[in-house]
Symmetry: C2
Subunit: 705 residues, 2 copies
C-alpha cells in the first residue's frame, strides 16, 4: 500500500520538476555536513574527512550544535545558522531528528542527502517517518537522496560526499547502487581494473530520487558513457520503462537486478524495504526498455568495463585470432545461441592470411597462429583484418614456452587505433600474463580470462546497439470514454447484485467491445426454461461466480447431442447447483487452446499474460508476458519472438495461425486492462484458435472484481 | 571410419593390459630423450632442460645421433645404443621418423611419449602414419602417450617430461588436457591460486592412451583427489561411460568438454583430428557416469579449486554469513534452480545468533552482520553455526569503511578446523581484499569473486556426492540368441527382396518379440484383395520402403467408415501407388503421441531417443536421450526426470500415464538396438499411450537397414 501511494505522489512531482534540478545536488558548489563529527568511527567524522581531505574545492560547512570548532573549521549549530544558501546538505543525525532538521533548513537548501538509517527498512515506525519526510519534500519541492544511503562520489570535482573511503579514478561509468556495500566493493575492484567513474550514487531507500530520475539525469551527463545500476527493486515500473526506453537510445544502461528468487525478495524487503517485483516481469520490462541485464556480479563488471573501454560492435561479425587451438575452440563454443557470430572470411582474405602464417596454421575463423607464434604473426594478421568488415576482433593468447606475451600485447595496443572494430583480448594464465593484461587495461583494451564471459558481454553490447538503432515504439493507448462507461455500467450492475464476477453473456458483451469474439451461447436462468437450440451437439455449464473451476466441480456436461439430452443435463446441473444460471455453447473441435489473462504486477501494473492452454500451460511453462502499452506492430513482433511463435510461423508443414487476429485480441486486452483498473482478475481460458479460416473464439471468460 | 576401427582394437587391448602398466610411464625411474638438442628454441632442447634441471632424480639418457656429448652428458646415437632398458622414451623427432624410432627401440622400453606432431591432425598422410603406429603398439603391447602432445609433468618426483616451462606446485589435482596450450595456461594460473597438481598430462591425439585409460590410472593414484580433464573428443563412448561411472564412485571427475557448436566441432577436427561427438549425447553420458561438467573455463577452474581445497558438502543445506545486505541478496539469488539450498535455521539457533549480533542484524539466512561488522561478529556467528547440521558455510564480505578485512579472514582461517561443513568465501573487491584472499587460498579456503560462481560450483560438487552415494546401475543387457536369429531371418528375407525397410506386419512381428505392442492391422497385397474388417472406422496406408513419409505424399486415408468406403480407398491408393502393399488399421483416438527411435551416435553407439510426438517434437525440443544399457529402474528414474515426466506424474489433475509400461517399451528398444546392430534407422512414430487402462500401441514402425 505504502509503495503504491508514493507512485501516485511521484507522478505529479515528475511533471513539476525543473529539468536540471539534480545538477546542484550532484555537482554542488557548496555543501553542509549536518552531524559532522571528529569522534573516531562515527559516520559524521568519515563524511567530514572525505569531503574536506580529498580535494573538493567547493565551500564546506560543518554543522553540529555540540561543537564550535571542528577539524580546525568553524562549526555551526544548525543549517540556518550558516546564514546563506548552500547547494546541498548531507545529513547524518539519528533518524528521529531528520524530519526536524530538514524542515528547519528548507530555506537554506533544496537538496538533501540523507545518510541516516531507520526509515522504511526497519518496519512500521520507519515507514511512517519516511512517509512524513516524503510529504514534506513533495510540498516544498525538495530533492532528497536516500534515506539510508551511502551518499555519492563525483571524482571529476574530487567530491566524496559519502562515508565510503577513498576517491575512485575519474572515468565514464556512472554507477548507481541500491547497496552501499556493493558500491564500495566495486570501486575497490575498479581501481585494479583501470576503469573510472563519472558518478557513484548510493540511492538507499529511494524515497524520492529513484532509478528513473537518475537515468534522466545521467542521460544528460556528457561525462557518462554507460550507466550501471545495482537494483533490488524498481519503484514505478511504468515510469521506469518510459524513461529507460528513451535513455537507452542515447547510452547503454546495464542493470544487475537482484531478487530472482522468493528468498532473495524476502531478504531484500528486510534490508531496504523495497518491493523486488516478479523476475519474469523484470525480464520483459528490460527487454522493452533496451536495458542490458547483467546475469551476475561478474558479468555486470565485465559489461561496465567493456562498454567503458570500447564502442559497440558495428556489426555482428567477430574475428578471433589465437595462439592456442583449445582456447580457440572454447571461444567458438561461446558463440552458441548468440546474435554475434564468427565471421566467415572471404577466400581472398584467407589467402592473404595464409601468406603471412606458417603452412600448418588455420586460416578459418578462429585463426590459429599456432603455439610458437610471436608478435609478428599477430601483427600481420591484425593488419589484414583491419580492412575486413568485422564488428569485433578478439585476440586470444595462452603463455606457451616461447610466447613473447608482452610484445604481443604491445602490438595489440599500438595498432588499436587502426581498427574500426571493437577490440578485446582473452589472455589466459597467471603470473606470465598479469603484466600484459594490466597494460592492455591501461590502454582501454578489455581482457577476459574466460572466453564465455567475453562473448556473452560482447553479445549483450551488440544487442543494445541494435535496440539503439531500431525505431522506437512510443505508442500510447487511447482510452475510449464511452466504452469505459458502458463496461462500468455492466460491472456496477453485477456489484449491485452482490456478484464478484460477470455472467458469461455479460462478459461476452464486454469482450465484443474490445474486438474479441466470444463463443456463441445461450443463457438458461435458474428457472430451467430451455431456449431453442439450432445446432447440436452442445456443452452446458454452470455460469456463476461461485463456480469458477467448472471441470473440478463437475459443473459442466460435454457433448449433449439433442434436445432430450439437454433437458436431462439442465435438470441435473440445476439439481446440483440450485439457484444458479447455466450457459449453453456449441461443442467446438479443438485445434489449439490459448490462455490469455491480465496479471496485476505490483511494480508494472496490469500485464498481459498469454500462452498455450490446456495441460501445456503449466507443463511447458510456455507463458509469455507483455507490458502495455504497445503498438499492434510491436505486439506482432513480440508474439513472433515468443514461446508460441511456432503457431504463427506455420511449423512443420502446418498452416500458420492468424497472427493479425491474435495481435488484435491482445491489443483489445491492453485497452481493456487500462480502461478497467478495478477488475481484479481477468482471463480467457480457453481461447480456441484455428488455422482453417474460422474465427477464434473465447470459450470461457472470467472477469472478477 | 578410422575412428571406429580403433575402438575395436582398443577393446581387445584393454582386456589384455596389466593393471599397473601406466605406473612406469607416469612415474619412471629412467627416461630417454630421443631428439634431445641444445639448439635454442628447439623442442628437444626444452625437453632436455626441463627433465635435467628441475630436480628429477631418475636416470636420464639423451639420444641424438648428431651429438656425442650434449648438456655435458653422454649422448647416444639411438635408444638401442643405451644398452639397457629404460622406463620411458620421450620422442621429439620429425613425424616421418617416429615409427622407425619406436620399432627399433621396443626392446629398450615399452613406454613412449610422442611429442612430434604430423599425425592424424594433418589429414590423410598423418592418419596413415598414426594407424601404422597404433598397429605396432597393439602388436607389441606398447604404451604410447600422444602423438602431437606436450608430454606430462609429475611434480611429486620433480619430473617435467614436457616442453611446457616450469614446475607447478605439488598437489592433489590430476589434470589431463587435449590441448597443450590450455594446460600451460592453467598451470600458470594455478600458481597464483595456490593449487597444486599430482599429474599434468597432455594427451595429444589420444592414439592409444585415452581419457578412459587415464581415468582408470588416476583413480588408483592416491595423491589425486580430483581428476580434471579438458576434452575435445571422446574416443570410445561406451568404454568411457563404463570407466567414468566406476571412477566417479571413488573421486570426482570434472570435465570441460569443448565442441558444443558445429563450428567448434569443425575447429576441433582441424586441430586434433578428433570427433567431437554430439553435445546432447555428451550431456547424457556425463550424467550417467556421474561426471561433473564444467560449463566454461572459469567454472572448470572454480571446480578444481573448490574440490582440491574442501571435502564435498555432507548435506544440501548452506549457511551464508555476510557483512553486506546486497551481496547477501545476490548470493541468495544464486540458489535459483539449485539442489543445494539456504538452510532454514531453527528458532533456537536464530535466538543464539541474535544474542551475539546488534539488534538491526538479520538472523535469517543469509545472516546479515551489518556493514560495521568486525571479526568478532563473524567469529561468534561461525561458532554457533559449527553446531548446526549444515553442509556448507559461506562467508561473504565487502570491504566497507571500517571492515577489518584481514582480521576477518584470520578468524575464518583459524576456526576452519572446527567446522564439519565445507567452507568457502566470497570476498568482493580489489586492493583491499587481495591480501586476505591470498591468505585464504594458502589455507585451502576457496574464494570466489562472484556469488553465482560460488553457488554453482558448490552445487555441482554436492550433486557429485549424491551420485557417489547412490547405488550403481551396473546392468548389462543379455542378448537372446534365438530372438536375434529370428529377427535376422526376417530382415534377410526383406534384403533378398531388395527392400531397405520391413513391411508393417513384419515390423510388428519384430516389435512383439521385444514386448512392444503394435496396432492391430491387416495387410492388403498389390492385388487389392480386401480382407474381412470387423470394426470401422479404419485408416488405410501405403506400406512401402519407398513411401516413408506418408502424410506428405498423401499415401494414407483416414476415417474410412465402412466396407464400401474402404473399397474406394484401396482403389485410389493402388492407382496412385501401383504395385505397393497397403495396411489397414483401426482409427484410434489420440490422447498422447510419443515418438521413439534409435540414433546411431559416432561416439556412444546406439542411443534411445524419445519424446512427445506430433508437432511438439520439433517445437518444444522435448526430445530425451538414453544411452544403453540401463536397468528398468534406471530407465524409470530417468523418464521421471525427463522432459515428459509430467505425463507419468499426473499433472494438473490428469490421471498419470503408465510409467511401468513405457519403461518396458524403452527396455525392449535397448535390447533391440543391441541385438540388431545392422539396423540403420529405427523409429516408432507415433506410439499412442493412454491413461485410461488401454494398452499403448505402435501405430507406425520404421525399421530400415
Amino acid at each position: 500500500m505504502y509503495n503504491m501511494r508514493y507512485i501516485a505522489v511521484k507522478k505529479i512531482k515528475t511533471k513539476n520538476m525543473k529539468k536540471n534540478s539534480l545538477d546542484n545536488l550532484f555537482a554542488p558548489k557548496s555543501i553542509a555536513i549536518v552531524g559532522a563529527s571528529s569522534k573516531k568511527g562515527k559516520v559524521g567524522t568519515v563524511l567530514a574527512d572525505n569531503i574536506l581531505k580529498l580535494g573538493y574545492r567547493g565551500k564546506v560547512y560543518l554543522v553540529n550544535p555540540s561543537y564550535r570548532i571542528l577539524k580546525m573549521k568553524r562549526c555551526y549549530a544548525s543549517l540556518a545558522a550558516i546564514g546563506k544558501e548552500v547547494d546541498v546538505a548531507i545529513i547524518s543525525v539519528p533518524a528521529k531528528f531528520v524530519l526536524e532538521v530538514v524542515r528547519e533548513s528548507m530555506h537554506v537548501t533544496k537538496n538533501f542527502i540523507i545518510i541516516s538509517a531507520g526509515f522504511s527498512e526497519i518496519g512500521a515506525e520507519g515507514v511512517k517517518r519516511e512517509k512524513d519526510l516524503a510529504i514534506l519534500a513533495e510540498k516544498h519541492g525538495l530533492n532528497i537522496l536516500g534515506p539510508n544511503c551511502l551518499g555519492f562520489i563525483a571524482p571529476k570535482i574530487n567530491l566524496n560526499a559519502s562515508f565510503a573511503g577513498g576517491m575512485p579514478k575519474e572515468g565514464n561509468i556512472a554507477f548507481v547502487s541500491q547497496s552501499g556495500a556493493l558500491a564500495v566493493a566495486l570501486m575497490d575492484r575498479a581501481s585494479q581494473e583501470h576503469i573510472g567513474f563519472s558518478q557513484v550514487i548510493s540511492v538507499g531507500n529511494k524515497m524520492q530520487i529513484d532509478e528513473a530520475e537518475l537515468l534522466e539525469y545521467l542521460a544528460r551527463d556528457n561525462q557518462t558513457k554507460v550507466i550501471g545500476m545495482y537494483l533490488e527493486g524498481i519503484k514505478n515500473g511504468q515510469k521506469f520503462i518510459e524513461v529507460a526506453k528513451k535513455v537507452s537510445k542515447i547510452k547503454p544502461i546495464v542493470i544487475l537486478k537482484a531478487g530472482k528468487t522468493e528468498k532473495a525478495q524476502k531478504a531484500i524487503s528486510s534490508h531496504t524495504g523495497a518491493l523486488a517485483g516478479s523476475d519474469d516481469m523484470i525480464e520483459v520490462a528490460f527487454e522493452k526498455a533496451g536495458v542490458i541485464r547483467a546475469d551476475d556480479l561478474e558479468e555486470f563488471f565485465d559489461l561496465l568495463t567493456l562498454i567503458s573501454f570500447v564502442d559497440a560492435p558495428k556489426n555482428a561479425k567477430v574475428a578471433v585470432v589465437t595462439n592456442a587451438g583449445g582456447a580457440g575452440v572454447l571461444t567458438t563454443d561461446a558463440f552458441k545461441d548468440k546474435e554475434i557470430v564468427l565471421a566467415d572470411f572471404a577466400k581472398k582474405t584467407k589467402e592473404k592470411i595464409k601468406n603471412v602464417l606458417p603452412q600448418e596454421a588455420s586460416v578459418e575463423n578462429p585463426i590459429d597462429l599456432l603455439g610458437d607464434a610471436h608478435e609478428d604473426r599477430y601483427l600481420e594478421t591484425l593488419k589484414i583484418l583491419s580492412t575486413e568488415n568485422v564488428g569485433s576482433i578478439i585476440c586470444v593468447l595462452t603463455p606457451q614456452q616461447q610466447t613473447p606475451v608482452e610484445k604481443i600485447s604491445q602490438v595489440i595496443i599500438k595498432n588499436k587505433k587502426h581498427y574500426a572494430a571493437a577490440m578485446a583480448t582473452i589472455f589466459i594464465g597467471g603470473d606470465r600474463v598479469r603484466k600484459s593484461i594490466n597494460e592492455l587495461k591501461i590502454n582501454s583494451i578489455p581482457n577476459f580470462s574466460n572466453p564465455d564471459s567475453a562473448i556473452a558481454a560482447l553479445n549483450k553490447y551488440y544487442k543494445w546497439s541494435i535496440f539503439k538503432k531500431a525505431k522506437a515504439d512510443n505508442f500510447k493507448v487511447v482510452q475510449i470514454a464511452a466504452r469505459k462507461k458502458e463496461v462500468g455500467k455492466i460491472i456496477t450492475l453485477a456489484k449491485k447484485e452482490k456478484r464478484t464476477a460477470l455472467f458469461f453473456p455479460e462478459a461476452a458483451e464486454v469482450m465484443k467491445k474490445y474486438g474479441i469474439n466470444p463463443t456463441t451461447h445461450a443463457a438458461i436462468l435458474p428457472t430451467g426454461l430451455i431456449p431453442q437450440i439450432s445446432e447440436y451437439p452442445v456443452v452446458i455449464k454452470v455460469d456463476s461466480d461461485k463456480v469458477l473451476h467448472k471441470s473440478d466441480r463437475q459443473a459442466l456436461i460435454l457433448n449433449v447431442k439433442n434436445a432430450q439430452e439437454l433437458e436431462v443435463a439442465v435438470k441435473k446441473l440445476l439439481a446440483d447447483f440450485a439457484g444458479e444460471r447455466l450457459v449453453v455453447q456449441p461443442m467446438q473441435d479443438k485445434q489449439i487452446e490459448i490462455i490469455l489473462g491480465i496479471k496485476k504486477d505490483s511494480v508494472f501494473g496490469p500485464v498481459i499474460v498469454y500462452g498455450l492452454g490446456g495441460i501445456y500451460t503449466e507443463i511447458f511453462k510456455m507463458v509469455n508476458f507483455m507490458i502495455p502499452p504497445m503498438s499492434i506492430q510491436a505486439i506482432e513482433e513480440q508474439i513472433m519472438q515468443s514461446k508460441i511463435s511456432f503457431l504463427f510461423a506455420g511449423a512443420r508443414g502446418q498452416k500458420a495461425y492468424n497472427i493479425g487476429e491474435f495481435s488484435k485480441i491482445i491489443k483489445g486486452l491492453m485497452e481493456f486492462a487500462l480502461e478497467n483498473e478495478d477488475v481484479l482478475e481477468f482471463d480467457i481460458n480457453p481461447l480456441f484458435i484455428y488455422n482453417d479460416g474460422r474465427a477464434s473464439s473465447a470459450v470461457d471468460i472470467k472477469i472478477i472484481f
